[in-house]
Amino acid sequence: MDLSFSAEELAFRDEVRRFFKEEYPKDLLEKRSKGQVLSKDDIVRSQKALAAKGWAAMNWPVEHGGTGWTATQRYIYEEEAAAVDLQPLVPFGLSMVAPVIYTFGNDEQKKRFLPDILESNVWWCQGYSEPGAGSDLASLKTKAVRDDDHYVVTGTKTWTTLAQHADWIFCLVRTDGSGKKQEGISFLLIDMKSPGISVRPIITIDGGHEVNETHFEEVRVPAENLIGEEGKGWTYAKVLLTHERTGIAAVARSKRSLSKIKKFAAKQMNGGLPLLEDETFRRRISEIEIELMALEMTDLRTLAAVSLGGAPGPESSILKIKGTEIQQALTELAMEVSGYYAMPFIPESLEPGWNGDPIGPEEAVGTASKYFNMRKTSIYGGSNEIQKNIISKAVLRL
């Protein structure tokens, strides 16, 4: 057991630092440091810069353009990316549909879709959830009826994140209504420009427009866009869900937020003293800090286990649960530091590039919105209750 980095690993860290200092677009880092929301174009530029360096696809096999990094390299990269507050990758293409395509797709599909995902030429979104099916994903109803060499898709998907930007959507659809509900599900890739698709924005409690309801009205999808076998979509999706859980600990990002909150609390006064020096407040900070130290090690232990063999086990549900609890606790803390200035709402501050006058200290802007928004993290990606069911069944064998 030891924590030290090898000489190669230290060299890698230098290379990552150099990249962010010299190659990655400076203006994007500046916007982030000012707390501005990046536009669609900005996000694409950011991802393309990483792709150009070969760093866009951390999880992919090397043959398809993956980095081939060890667990330690990933850890180093995440730390450095958090240090510059790098815009997070939009996960739907790179982390979600791509693993399904390279694992279960045919050669033609791989050739057709993977390069554009790798280079962020195509924006993907996810069509899993439906208004009736939340945590009970498998009860989905969107129908895909085979008609010659097409599927005709009708139904509604919800919580389609950033569908307003998307070129393609990957969907779970029902191709068979008889039998066990998991067995009639297929995995379909659909061009968002297809006639019959409409996207309705859903405004969330933080005031933002991040998610949508996406309607399919007899949308014709070429049968060649089916991944793997008809009726096996559930199996593919489950593999993907485990992949989704590994990145979700968000340790490096949470460390960064924590340190920002500490700086903010050092400036906010309470009874003539910086809030950071208040024993009660400090205790609250320390509790989160310690939980985060623990989670970082749990994450590393999981990564190490993964690098020894295959996919992360059900233990990785811990990462989802603890990771989101910490993220939520941090937004709550930021709001606490803001005091009365958590209350003002500046709708424009949620728009890309907003650079207006803050009300109160700039660190306070949007803290309440962020807090409201982050409540989603214990709901999506398999609610934390579902994660506990998974651990109960798969780990504790209850």
Binding site: S135, N270, F345, K376
Partner: protein, 377 residues
């Protein structure tokens, strides 16, 4: 000991419930919030007609002599309806201060205006550096000739945008944190040197940051004795805190009940999610937290009503509990509603947001826990 409401109090309760049913359906509320004023002046007139604006004032000031119990009854229903008209700012805060400290002339003019609905007011007390400490003031009023000159800034003044008149706390002597040397002034909101930055708060209410740039005040604008305002401010903020806690209890009740109803109908895995034991117990905890908070509310209100020595301590206990229990109930309501709870369309998120902001208003949990400990010695 008696925990029941009087007949008149029950009638009052009924009248607010009816108003919410008739005039505050959720889509109507949404329109009110997105209107120019951010609240409805018609509703304000109705409040005047129903006597709500006269509630806490003595008969000789044109009021109807309500006690903190009446305010609680009203505010609990305001919380159930998520009413955004600035009752707290005008009646409880500004009205309370004038009732407590005003000269007969001030009372006649201003409380008269409040009662008939013609004057809206706000209390500007908080400052950026002061956090929740009422005595931590850098806004000053210095004597000049026959009057005063007011200089400084106040933050997040509830009801600021619609206020015709402001009550402003300022330091007339002493150092930044001194208990002595604090005075109150009545300031015309449109006076020269007063500038407001108005905004909506995240829970759909209206507030302002207000700057006073050498605002000239007459001696008759002083509210109460010079330099001795802190105890009065503390008393009225305590009353307002209890009132806003009553609002929170109303909101908590709706929130946990909405979650229970949702859980009964929302199906997952072939059964209503209310069948899952983990969610059942969580809703039981939401119910218990609401009941325990309600108990503290009754306690604090009765202590305020009898002017008990430990009223302030009880209010801090209540406010701290509202903070933690309100957060728990709100967060879990969203969790139980799942994705739907995250949408602006459903009302539950709006209750959650209001409960979150009530935690901040008049001091967060930590602030009141410390005050409770201090007042317990």
């Amino acid at each position: 000991m008696d925990f029941s409401l009087s007949e008149e109090q029950i009638l009052l309760q009924d009248s607010v419930v009816r108003f919410v049913q008739d005039e505050y359906e959720f889509e109507k509320r949404r329109k009110i919030i997105s209107s120019e004023d951010g609240f409805s002046r018609d509703n304000w007139k109705t409040f005047a007609e129903l006597g709500w604006l006269a509630m806490p004032f003595p008969e000789e000031m044109g009021g109807i002599d309500g006690t903190p119990v009446e305010t609680m009854v009203l505010m609990e229903s305001i919380g159930k309806g998520l009413i955004v008209e600035p009752y707290l700012a005008t009646v409880v805060l500004a009205g309370g201060l004038i009732k407590e400290a005003g000269s007969p002339a001030q009372q006649e003019e201003l409380i008269g205006g409040i009662v008939d609905g013609s004057t809206m007011m706000a209390f500007a007390y908080a400052e950026a550096q002061g956090r929740y400490n009422l005595a931590d003031l850098v806004t000053t009023a210095s004597q000049q000739g026959d009057g005063w000159v007011l200089k400084g800034s106040k933050c997040v003044v509830l009801g600021g945008p619609s206020a015709d008149k402001l009550v402003v706390s300022a330091r007339t002597s002493g150092d930044q944190m001194d208990s002595n040397g604090i005075s109150l002034f009545i300031v015309d909101a449109n006076a020269s040197g007063v500038s407001r930055r108005n905004y909506t708060t995240v829970d759909g209410n209206q507030a302002s940051d207000i700057t006073f740039n050498n605002v000239s005040l007459a001696n008759s604008d002083l509210l109460g004795a010079e330099g001795n305002a802190l105890p009065i401010i503390e008393k009225i903020i305590d009353e307002a805190t209890a009132a806003v806690c009553a609002e929170a209890v109303g909101a908590m009740e709706v929130t946990y009940q909405a979650s229970v109803e949702y859980a009964k109908t929302r199906e997952q895995f072939g059964v209503a999610i209310g069948q899952f034991q983990v969610l059942q117990h969580r809703m039981v905890e939401m119910f218990m937290e609401t009941e325990q908070t309600k108990s503290l509310l009754y306690l604090a209100i009765m202590k305020l009503a009898e002017g008990a020595d430990d009223a302030a301590k009880t209010v801090s206990a209540l406010k701290a509990k509202v903070g933690t229990a309100g957060r728990f109930v709100g967060q879990q309501a969203i969790q139980i509603h799942g994705g739907m709870g995250m949408t602006d369309e459903m009302s539950v998120g709006h209750y959650f947001k209001r409960l979150t902001m009530i935690n901040t208003l008049f001091g967060s949990v930590d602030h009141h826990m410390k005050r409770f400990a201090q007042l317990s010695d």
